[in-house]
């Protein structure tokens, strides 16, 4: 759980207080804090003068606007056909072993979340994952374990 503090006000000053400002505001909260708390959504509703249900309804539609606790680094493994054909399962196995969590879970120290996602546009360099915004492609178990070790040291 994080405190939104002045963030929502700052973001509303930056993106505006119109209905169309909603997505950019929610997106930036997620960029900073990894997911949306109820408090954050209520605060956004107040700032934009719309109902909290509208904010929740919008947020819950979009897979990247998480309303459940997520770690600092969200790992999204592409599960669409080419990545599946080119070794996605080995990548997931490696990640699960390293992080000691299953798909859909977050590590207890809230550093990593591991989820599957639909096509991320790197089929020619499958298998591919996103860690927050960054794509990593042409992965092997060795490659992915080096990448995760780097993140663990951050």
């Amino acid at each position: 759980m994080y405190q939104v503090g002045n963030l929502v006000k700052e973001l509303s000053d930056k993106h505006g207080r119109m209905r169309e400002s909603l997505m950019p505001i929610l997106q930036e909260i997620v960029q900073k804090h990894n997911y949306l708390t109820d408090e954050a959504m209520v605060e956004v509703a107040r700032e934009l003068d719309i109902s909290a249900a509208e904010v929740y309804g919008t947020a819950s539609f979009y897979t990247f606007l998480d309303t459940q606790v997520k770690g600092k680094y969200v790992i999204r493994v592409c599960k669409t056909i080419t990545c599946s054909m080119k070794g996605k399962s080995d990548i997931i196995q490696t990640l699960e072993d390293m992080l000691k969590i299953k798909i859909g879970e977050t590590t207890t120290d809230k550093q990593f979340s591991l989820i599957e996602t639909n096509c991320i546009g790197w089929c020619h360099k499958a298998p591919a994952i996103l860690i927050n915004e960054m794509p990593y492609t042409e992965l092997t178990p060795e490659k992915v374990s080096t990448i995760i070790k780097d993140y663990m040291q951050k």
């Binding site: 209905r19 599946s84 639909n118 089929c123």
Partner: protein, 386 residues
């Protein structure tokens, strides 16, 4: 049928002086630009293939002080990655194409809707957009572009869902009519075009409509950027002339053992080996937004079908029953047949369901689930059953 064979083309990534092309375009009247598009025969590169000239003509005809040109960079179709490559390599041409479209339809505002999965590109794109705005100013023209980000929803590539998303709402497709040309984003007349369409439009202004029509066939003019993946020794992005057969494509990109090619992604069609020679890639045969996935004989077509149905079940916006329930039932249905819990004739029922979805679903997502379903089940029935 016209068959042009497989020819590489260099139009989309060709080095040009964007400023000169824009100066040329801004000297033209709106009607002249639109006529160029009509003469070129350019059809939208986002999948649906609506003639770009007509779209611009209809939007231009609307009387409104506020109009928009929206660039669809949502690129969520499985197997498509060409728009990302285009934006990475020639964003100046995307922005330029938007300005030209803006001139044609009478819009001073452009919005690029970029999928959330591509957010990592944003810092570089912002720098390039800055230079673009400076250049436009130097020319003495008034046109402004903004970027809006998606947040991981395939349906937001559908034009009206995309508008809803820009407006800060759930990405649920609207009823049509009214069409975007009349009432699009913020309920203003809008032309929405795919990334590649806009770049192609700019190249048509550069080289002339006539030059463009030498490529492709009567129904599918020009060239197109293909995203090639799957069982191929050479995956990647290739710009090819339209009008080749799947066989010609496989001869170049296959691994010698190609069993099927999925043309157009999850919402496209599966072409089996026995139909390679007779199937043209283009609007007269199998249309495609550019996704070409090759499968060799080691691959299970049941896995392919299951993967796609799983995709649609997750990505259906849930707004209309034929699609929401239909996707779930197709998925459960093939699982049951595979496990032997339902007879193989149950597939016939599922085929009918796919037909009903084509008629009854509200938007292109639900309407095209049947494309992959019917072509995979129709051609690889044994693999689905056993």
């Amino acid at each position: 049928m016209e068959n042009k064979g497989l020819n590489k083309v260099d139009l989309i990534f060709e080095k040009i002086e964007p400023k000169e092309v824009l100066i040329k375009a801004f000297k033209m009247s709106s009607a002249e630009i639109i006529q160029n598009m009509l003469d070129s025969g350019l059809k939208g590169r986002g999948g649906a293939g609506f003639p770009t000239g007509l779209k611009w003509k209809y939007t231009a005809a609307e009387k409104s002080s506020e109009k928009y040109i929206v660039c669809n960079a949502d690129e969520g179709e499985p197997g498509t990655f060409k728009d990302r490559e285009i934006l990475e390599r020639v964003s100046d041409k995307v922005h330029g194409g938007m300005a030209i479209a803006g001139k044609a339809i009478g819009a001073k505002m452009g919005i690029v809707y970029l999928r959330g999965e591509y957010r990592y590109m944003l810092p570089k794109l912002m720098i390039e957009l800055d230079s673009f705005h400076k250049m436009i100013k130097e020319i003495g023209y008034d046109f402004n572009i903004e970027y809006r980000m998606g947040s991981g929803a395939y349906i937001c590539g559908e034009e009206s869902a995309l508008f809803e998303s820009i407006e800060g709402k759930r990405g649920e497709p609207r009823n049509k009519p009214p069409y975007p040309t009349v009432s699009g984003v913020f309920d203003k007349p809008t032309s929405i075009n795919n990334v590649e369409t806009l770049v192609t439009a700019m190249m048509i202004i550069q080289h002339g409509a006539k030059n463009f029509t030498q490529y492709g066939t009567k129904d599918s003019r020009g060239s197109k950027v293909f995203s090639v993946s799957g069982d191929t020794p050479t995956p990647g992005i290739f710009e090819l002339e339209l009008g080749m057969t799947v066989q010609q494509f496989v001869n170049v990109f296959g691994d010698g053992d190609t069993k099927a090619v999925q043309v157009g992604g999850a919402s496209g069609f599966c072409v089996p080996r026995k139909k390679f020679a007779e199937t043209i890639i283009g609007f007269e045969g199998v249309p495609t937004g550019g996704s070409m996935k090759l499968f060799n004989s080691s691959r299970s077509m049941y896995n392919l079908l299951h993967n796609y149905l799983d995709f649609f079940t997750e990505e259906s916006c849930g707004q209309c029953t034929p699609c929401r329930v239909g996707c779930q039932q197709l998925l459960k249905g093939v699982e049951k047949v595979k496990k032997g819990e339902a007879k193989s004739t149950y597939l016939n029922e599922l085929m009918k369901l796919a037909d009903s979805m084509k008629i009854a679903a509200k938007c292109g997502l639900g309407q095209s689930v049947g494309n992959a379903f019917k072509s995979i089940v129709g051609n690889f029935r044994e693999e689905i059953i056993y």
